[in-house]
Structures are given as structure tokens and as C-alpha cells.
């Protein structure tokens, strides 16, 4: 078990490193034009561009640039974390105009708030959205998949599979808009999109949830994923039920029910757990779009608007921290997987 965990952890660390390097490439190196000029943005003077160049270390070799970029996210060693402010007017306590010794955390140049702080502030919203939706779709998708798999070709199965294939084909942003149109605009039974300011932290997020502000977002996100899981569980179950050991169990005289629940499900569900791990990445993607359509001030909306305003520090921060969260979630899932399927521990 230990070796397995170490292996998985190393893999995930590698993924985060790759993501950070790709992010660095994408935002600093990929676009044509001068990164310093691009980063500095609106009202620029040549002096400001030059200072941004120094802050980014653009006159230094590539590996130095990458290292400086990375330092902003690594809390240790504690001596001078990199400051990468590149905004039109300088942020509070930002010495980058001098750019002699950089210090201080990343600042978004949209509003001078440290990137880490902004992400931490928005985490409860995205978390509530993701976790709530995940609970719904697991509670919805898996039973539907099992029901379908067990009662193949029945009316229930057909209905469930229609539900599923519609869900898989539905663009999430269209579904969100349709739901908003129907339930908020026409029927007026649910509150308007968005969360008023003042709902801070997890308490605020839960309060908003209690007021029903998350219902439509949850449904949008959950329906589509529930459809995926229903199809997958069903498919896995059917495949598992064809396996030899199921036939053996039946031959042993076990009731069909026992065969399914004790033996069949186990084989059918382990891929689900893997899926969950992979899914966190996609879940984040769906969350981005859901937050944008419903105006929820979460990390997704932050990323989308930061990209829209070319707010480099913010986008880079979200990408890397997002990758980190995904990696951690994957690790948790891997541990769960190892418990479910002992064979894995020894590979």
C-alpha cells in the first residue's frame, strides 16, 4: 500500500509540475509579442514595461524565468517569494516599479488582491457547487445505471437510457440557460442567478444553498454527469455480469440479488471510482461554465474573467492551484480505489 501511494503521489507531483511548466509556456512564451508589454496592459510607459521585464526576469535564461514564476506558489524556502505584479497602476506595497528585489506574493493586476487570497475566498462557492452536484449525480446516476443494467430491455431501462443519452449530448451551457429561462424567468419559482455580496466563506455558501441559489446550477452540472455515470455503470455491469465468476456464483446457487449486489457491483463500480478521479478535472470544467452562466462568484468565473482581461497572474494562479486540487482529489480517489480493489496495491 505504501509503495503504491508513493508511486501515485510521485505521478501526481509530476503532473502538477508539467501543468506549471505548460502554464508558464502558455501564458508567458506562447503568445506572439512581448510578454512584458502584454502583461503590463493598459496605460504603459516604457519604464513600466522595463520594470515588468525585470520582475518577470525576462532578460534572464528560460530556466530562471520558470523558477521565478514558480516561486510565487511555493511557500518554502521562505526568503523572498517572487512578486509578479504587472499592472497599470502599481498595487499596494508593490515595489515592482523599482524592480530591484522582488518580494511579496502574486497580485492580480485587476484589483491588486493577492491571487491566493482571491482563490481562497472563492473556493467555498466552487466547492459547494461541485460537491453538491457530485452528491446528486452519484445518488442519481449510479442507481439508474444499476437498475438499467439489471433490468435490460425493460421500459425502465429504455427510459433511463434515453435520459442518459440526452444528458450526454446536452451542452451544459444550453441546459443551464434553458433551466434559467424556464424556472427563473417564466415560472419565477427560483431566485435569480448570482450570489449577493456578503455571503462569505463556507457559511455564506451554505446559506446561499439553503436559499435555493444552487439548485439550478446543481441540476445543470449533475444531470450531465449523472447521465455519464448511468451509462458507464450500466455498461460495466453488463460486462461484469458476463464474466465467469458471476456464472460461478450463480452456479453456486446464490440468489440473483446476491449475485448482483455482492459480486457484480464490485466489479462494476471500481471503474466508477477511477472515473471520479479523472472526473475532477472535467468537473472543474463543467463548474467553470456553470458558474459563468449562473453568475456564481467561484473559481471558474474568476478564471474565465481573468482570461478575458488578460490578468496573467490570476490565470496562472488558478491554473496551477486548480491542477493541484485535481491532483489531491486524484490521490484521495486512488486511496479509495486501493481499498476497493486489493490487486492494485501490489502492482
Amino acid at each position: 500500500m505504501g509503495r503504491y501511494l508513493i508511486r501515485r503521489s510521485l505521478f501526481l507531483i509530476m503532473v502538477v509540475v508539467v501543468v506549471s511548466f505548460l502554464t508558464f509556456l502558455i501564458f508567458v512564451k506562447l503568445p506572439a509579442g512581448d510578454p512584458a508589454r502584454r502583461a503590463v496592459g493598459r496605460t504603459t510607459t516604457p519604464e513600466q514595461i522595463e520594470n515588468a521585464r525585470k520582475a518577470f526576469g525576462l532578460d534572464k535564461p528560460l530556466y530562471v524565468q520558470y523558477w521565478r514564476f514558480l516561486r510565487g506558489f511555493i511557500p518554502w524556502p521562505p526568503s523572498q517569494p517572487l512578486e509578479m505584479i504587472a499592472g497599470k497602476p502599481p498595487p499596494p506595497d508593490g515595489p515592482w516599479l523599482d524592480a530591484t528585489e522582488p518580494d511579496g506574493p502574486y497580485y492580480s493586476y485587476g484589483n491588486f488582491v493577492p491571487v491566493k487570497e482571491e482563490i481562497a475566498r472563492r473556493l467555498p462557492i466552487t466547492g459547494t457547487l461541485a460537491i453538491g452536484a457530485a452528491i446528486i449525480w452519484l445518488l442519481l446516476g449510479i442507481p439508474i445505471g444499476i437498475l438499467s443494467g439489471v433490468r435490460r430491455r425493460s421500459v425502465a431501462d429504455r427510459a433511463a437510457m434515453i435520459f442518459a443519452i440526452v444528458g450526454v449530448s446536452m451542452p451544459i451551457f444550453w441546459l443551464a440557460q434553458l433551466l434559467l429561462y424556464a424556472f427563473w424567468f417564466k415560472l419565477r419559482i427560483l431566485p435569480s442567478s448570482g450570489i449577493p455580496i456578503g455571503y462569505e466563506g463556507w457559511g455564506g455558501a451554505l446559506r446561499a444553498a439553503a436559499e435555493g441559489r444552487f439548485i439550478l446550477p446543481w441540476v445543470s452540472l449533475a444531470y450531465i454527469n449523472a447521465a455519464f455515470y448511468a451509462r458507464m455503470v450500466r455498461g460495466n455491469l453488463i460486462e461484469t455480469m458476463n464474466e465467469d465468476y458471476i456464472r460461478t456464483a450463480r452456479a453456486k446457487g446464490l440468489s440473483e440479488r446476491r449475485v448482483i449486489y455482492k459480486h457484480g457491483l464490485r466489479g462494476a463500480l471500481t471503474p466508477v471510482v477511477t472515473m471520479l478521479g479523472l472526473d475532477v478535472g472535467l468537473l472543474l470544467g463543467g463548474a467553470f461554465i456553470t458558474e459563468t452562466v449562473f453568475g456564481l462568484p467561484g473559481i471558474g468565473q474568476l478564471a474565465v474573467s481573468a482570461i478575458g482581461t488578460n490578468d496573467f497572474p490570476m490565470v496562472m494562479g488558478v491554473t496551477i492551484i486548480g491542477a493541484f486540487i485535481i491532483a489531491v482529489a486524484n490521490l484521495v480517489v486512488d486511496v479509495a480505489y486501493a481499498f476497493l480493489d486489493p490487486r492494485v496495491r501490489y502492482t
Binding site: 496605460t43 516604457p46 497602476p89 448570482g194 482581461t309
Partner: protein, 623 residues
């Protein structure tokens, strides 16, 4: 100053009205005229802003009309200031604010003497400090400090003697700022500057209180980059919790005023040091102003309609809301539209072919469908068709009916455009259609928010019969402005900008937009008028000369305010429209606001082009 007599009369009337009404009612215009017995003060005004201010309220850096309104209405008093009403009600005129009276002018016209009202104090934590003449010197010195004035408008103060030397570090004080005594200030200029009063009605000249004696910058010492977070107010409001600021400790350890959280909220509370007795210009109705930053434009206006929000500061009212509020009789008194003294335009880069040929530029003006542009923006409510560049108030309405490229229904005239194009060197066969490769794929920069993409499509459509095709790049607004301003970007057309006056004088259009002092890296001469051939070469252009209007701008800037000056700016406007043709102006902007049911009084501040925040009365908003 010419306006003295009018000013005094209006002030007198105001005082009588105010006395009669006992502090409530009257004052500003707007569609709500409350009964005189109703007390409008009190309550909490809940506003929303889509974007934060641009420089965290640093007065020397903020060149943004929204912040200017916060300064004028609420946070900072200046020597002269405005009343926060429309032009017709005197909103473009300045009145003494911290000055006791209009300044007196020396015989040679170069020295102005201001007397400062005695006994006025700053907001906490400096409530024991009186506002004195030295505090204004401090503000001007900070305006000259290159570390502190980034993004600001220090160029308006070069006219003060010794300002540029101080800014360059060649002197350790500004010769032209002379403190005679605590309540008398002498300002000497290098040339006659009739609009000096206007320049001292702007936030960058607001007094900065002293701290330790000997600290040159007073409370701003050590805060070159972010004094806005430590702002000491002189107006009717201050940031909540300002009293907790402690200027006695090292600047690095000082904590900011808690009332402003960048990117999130602004909370203003009443300044206990301010008294309405000393201030004729501000009504300060709300007890508390809460501003939430961020959100979605349309969603915020929905909240206003629902009454959960009172006002949106910097949004654009969506066309469907405009339609609703204009056509529904119950809502018609909740929508306010006022000309904001701004013009919307498409600018040419005269160093990029084919726009180096005046005939092409004129043809462009002829074919332009201004009505269509306006319709896509929301229809007649959003503004008046612009036939010339300078907004009419800057020319005293001299050119109100002047439209050299007028067409039927302002929709453009293709035939006239073709006739003009046929005279261009880019139309070899003289058929009115440009056949040169320079007319193809012209790099056009525009905003990517509605309605600009739609307008760009329209532009493509009506230019096509002239043989002109566009390569349109849609950019985020700030990036767009930056690219349009950057001479190195080699864009040919800038299709998204607007420009509003800084104060009611034509120099605020003429200088930054068309004079060579507004060229890159300064602001905002996108057409490159007045660029020298060395400059053009250094930016990589093959065109070697462009027209210049520097002489005319200088001529007009030197004139005393009055008819001569108005006429001069009008002449420049004509010259630009008919001979130089750097732009197609298409709209004189109207600022549209919708109000929640809670707002019982509204006044439009002509100076900032926005509603006067302190006059939005919400007496019922008590929670």
C-alpha cells in the same frame, strides 16, 4: 474671471433656496422633485460597480470619471469645485469650495491669489488638523512626483512656474506655489492661464494634511504607490474606519482605511469634521454609502429593477431595459438620460495607408451610417448624432447645427462617398471604388463587449461598396485603449473609443487628442497628428509626414475664457472636420441611469458625467 458675476448670483439664489427649504429638497435637477417638507437625508445608499477604480483612489493617479465623482461628491474638497447638477443648472461652472472666494488675478495675469476658508478640518484621524495653504502645495508637489503621478494628468500643471523643474528633480520646491500665510496661497503661472480655476477643481489638487513636521509629503509620506488606501478625507464622507489609521508609525507598518477593500467593496460614512454650513456645493443626503464591486451588468440592472440595489455606477443600461423604462408609463420617471459631454468616434491613423489620403478619410465620413451605429447601441435614448468633434458645451453651442458630412437620416451617402474616393490616389480608375491593396484587410481595433462587435459588422458592410475591407480585432476594453494609443501597433482604425471632457474647456479635447503632446507615450492622440518625421520613423512607419494642428491648439489655449476662446475652439473643430479629418465622430453620448424605487432624488453631475452620488436620496433605506 469672466464667470464671476454669474457665479455669485447663482450662489446667492442657492443660499436663499436652501434656507427656505431647511436643508432638504431643491438643489439639483432630475425627474424626482420631492415636496419641500420631505426630509431627504438619511438612509444607506446601496450601489454597485462593475469594475473597481483604476488606481485605488490615489488622487494623483486616478484619471477616471467615476473616481472623480467620488472625490467631488464625497471624499475630497478642492479650492474650487462643482455643484453636481446639469449644465443648465450651472453644473459646468466652478465655485469656491475650500477657497473663501474666487481668486484674484495679478496685473500681469500670471499670479492668482486664493484665500482659504478658515477653521476647516480634515476627517479623522486628522480631525484636529486645520486645512492650510501648505497642504495644497503638498498636493501639487505630489502631482509632480513621477513615482506618484503614474497614469494621472500632471500635464495640466506644467503651466505652474517651476513645476517641470521640480518634477525633473532640478529644484526642491515649486517656485510658482507660494504660501503667503496659513490661509493665503499664491500660484504663479508661466503664461496666462484663464482656466486655472478648473485645474484646481480636480482631485489631484486636493489638500494633503501634514504629519510629522518636516515630512515633505505629510500623511502621504512613504505611500508613493498607494496613498489612496490611506486617504484623509476633506469632504462630507470618508472611508469607514478611517479613524483607525495611525500616521505616527512607520509608513510600512501603517494599516489602510478598512472602508475600502480593493476589488470588493467601498463603504463611505459621514465625515464628522464636515459641516453643511461651510459647503454650499454638496447636499450629502445618505448617511452611509455602500458600494459592491463586481457582478454582471444585466444582472445588476435586474436588481435595480427589483429594488434590491439602488444604483449601478458604471454599467450600461441594456437596450431591453431602456425599452421597458421608456415605454412603460409606470417606469418613466425612474430613467434619467443626460448628455454626458462625451463623443464616440472612429479614429484614423494618418500614418497608415490608405488613411494618409484625406480623400479616403472624407469618403469614409460620407458613407458612415451614424444612425445605424446609434441604433445598435440602443437607439435615440443613448445619444445625439454627432456632426462634429467637440461637444457643444465646449463651444458654447456655436456649432450646434454644423455637420459637414450630413446625409439623409444620418445613414450615410454612398454616392457622395464614391465621388470623394474618386479623387483619391488609391482609386486609379476613378470609379469611386478603391482598388489599391492598401484598402484591403485594414487592421481595425475595437471593443469586444456589445454593441461594438455588431457595429464593426455594420462598418464592414457599408465600407464594402467602397472597396475597403477590414480585419477586425476585438479586444478587452483596457487593452483596446492601450493598443489604440500605442503608435507602434500600426492599427489603421480604432473603432471603439469615446472621449469625455475633463472640465468644461475645449483644451481638454484639443490638447490630449490632437496636439503632439498627446502622442505616444502620452495620452490619447490616436491619429498621430503633429508627429514629426523622426517620430514616425522611430515607430516604423513609411509615411513621413502627417498634418499638425499644434499651432491652433496653442493659440486657443492661450486665450482668456470667453467668446474668443469658444470661437477659437470652434474654428479648430471646423478645421479638423473639413481639412484634417482625423476621425469620424458619430455620437454625442448620453448617460442613462435607472433608479430603484427607493431613490427619491437624483441629480446629474455635469462635471463627471455621472449621477451625483451624494444627491441620491434614500431616506427610507434604514436597516
Amino acid at each position: 474671471m469672466k464667470r464671476t458675476v454669474r457665479v455669485a448670483a447663482v450662489v446667492a439664489v442657492l443660499a436663499i433656496v436652501a434656507a427656505a427649504c431647511g436643508g432638504g429638497g431643491g438643489g439639483g435637477g432630475g425627474s424626482e422633485t420631492p415636496s419641500q417638507t420631505e426630509d431627504l437625508s438619511g438612509g444607506t445608499l446601496r450601489m454597485a460597480m462593475l469594475a473597481d477604480v483604476t488606481a485605488a483612489f490615489d488622487p494623483q493617479k486616478e484619471y477616471y470619471s467615476v473616481t472623480w465623482e467620488y472625490f467631488r461628491c464625497c471624499l475630497l474638497r478642492t479650492l474650487m469645485s462643482y455643484k453636481g447638477v446639469t449644465t443648465d443648472e450651472g453644473g459646468a461652472d466652478i465655485f469656491p469650495d475650500l477657497a473663501a472666494a474666487e481668486p484674484t488675478q495679478s496685473a500681469d495675469g500670471l499670479t492668482w491669489t486664493f484665500t482659504i476658508k478658515p477653521g476647516l478640518h480634515y476627517a479623522p484621524p486628522k480631525d484636529d488638523t486645520e486645512i492650510t495653504a501648505q497642504d495644497f502645495v503638498r498636493a501639487i508637489e505630489r502631482t509632480a512626483n513621477p513615482k506618484a503621478n503614474v497614469g494621472g494628468y500632471s500635464f495640466y500643471y506644467s503651466v505652474i512656474k517651476g513645476f517641470d523643474d521640480f518634477a525633473a528633480g532640478k529644484a526642491d520646491s515649486i517656485e510658482g506655489m507660494n504660501v503667503v500665510d496659513d490661509h493665503t496661497l499664491e500660484i504663479t503661472t508661466t503664461s496666462p492661464t484663464g482656466d486655472i480655476g478648473y485645474r484646481f477643481a480636480m482631485g489631484t489638487t486636493a489638500p494633503i494634511p501634514p504629519d510629522d513636521p518636516g515630512e515633505a509629503m505629510g500623511v502621504a509620506q512613504g505611500h508613493d504607490r498607494n496613498y489612496g488606501r490611506f486617504l484623509v478625507a476633506s469632504g462630507p464622507y470618508m472611508f469607514e474606519g478611517s479613524e483607525s489609521m495611525d500616521f505616527s508609525i512607520d509608513p510600512k507598518d501603517q494599516s489602510e482605511a478598512p472602508g475600502y477593500t480593493p476589488g470588493r467593496e467601498i463603504i463611505l460614512v459621514r465625515n464628522p469634521s464636515w459641516s453643511a454650513d461651510t459647503d454650499d456645493l454638496r447636499l450629502a443626503y445618505p448617511d452611509r454609502i455602500e458600494v459592491r464591486i463586481g457582478g454582471d451588468n444585466d444582472d445588476l440592472y435586474n436588481q435595480v429593477a427589483a429594488g434590491t440595489l439602488d444604483f449601478v455606477v458604471d454599467g450600461i443600461v441594456p437596450p431591453d431595459k431602456i425599452r421597458d423604462y421608456q415605454t412603460n408609463p409606470d417606469l418613466q420617471n425612474k430613467i434619467n438620460a443626460h448628455p454626458s459631454d462625451a463623443v464616440r468616434y472612429v479614429s484614423f491613423n494618418l500614418a497608415v495607408p490608405p488613411f494618409d489620403d484625406v480623400h479616403v478619410r472624407k469618403a469614409f465620413n460620407w458613407v458612415f451610417d451614424k444612425q445605424g451605429f446609434r441604433q445598435l447601441r440602443g437607439g435615440p435614448t443613448v445619444g445625439a448624432i454627432a456632426g462634429h468633434i467637440f461637444v457643444d458645451t465646449l463651444e458654447n453651442n456655436i456649432l450646434q447645427t454644423y455637420d459637414p458630412y450630413a446625409t439623409a437620416n444620418a445613414s450615410g451617402d454612398l454616392q457622395k462617398a464614391k465621388d470623394e474616393m474618386a479623387q483619391s490616389k488609391y482609386d486609379k480608375d476613378k470609379d469611386g471604388v478603391c482598388d489599391a491593396p492598401e484598402c484591403k484587410d485594414i487592421l481595425t481595433i475595437t471593443d469586444r463587449e456589445d454593441p461594438y462587435p455588431g457595429q464593426a459588422n455594420l462598418l464592414i458592410q457599408f465600407l464594402q461598396p467602397l472597396g475597403i475591407t477590414l480585419d477586425v480585432k476585438q479586444l478587452e476594453r483596457g487593452t483596446m485603449y492601450n493598443k489604440c494609443n500605442d503608435a507602434n501597433s500600426h492599427h489603421a482604425l480604432c473603432a471603439g473609443p469615446g472621449w469625455g471632457k475633463d472640465y468644461a474647456d475645449g483644451v481638454t479635447f484639443g490638447q490630449p487628442l490632437f496636439d503632439s503632446s498627446g502622442l505616444w507615450e502620452s495620452c490619447c492622440n490616436y491619429s498621430l497628428l503633429g508627429a514629426s518625421s523622426e517620430q514616425l520613423k522611430s515607430w516604423g512607419y513609411s509615411v513621413t509626414s502627417v498634418p499638425s494642428v499644434d499651432d491652433k491648439v496653442a493659440e486657443c489655449s492661450a486665450l482668456e475664457p470667453g467668446d474668443a476662446r469658444f470661437n477659437c475652439w470652434a474654428e479648430l473643430d471646423r478645421q479638423l472636420m473639413e481639412d484634417v479629418v482625423p476621425w469620424v465622430p458619430y455620437l454625442f453620448d448620453t448617460n442613462v441611469d435607472i433608479l430603484s424605487d427607493n431613490i427619491k432624488h437624483y441629480s446629474f453631475d455635469q462635471f463627471a458625467g455621472l449621477a451625483a452620488f451624494d444627491q441620491l436620496a434614500v431616506p427610507g433605506n434604514t436597516q
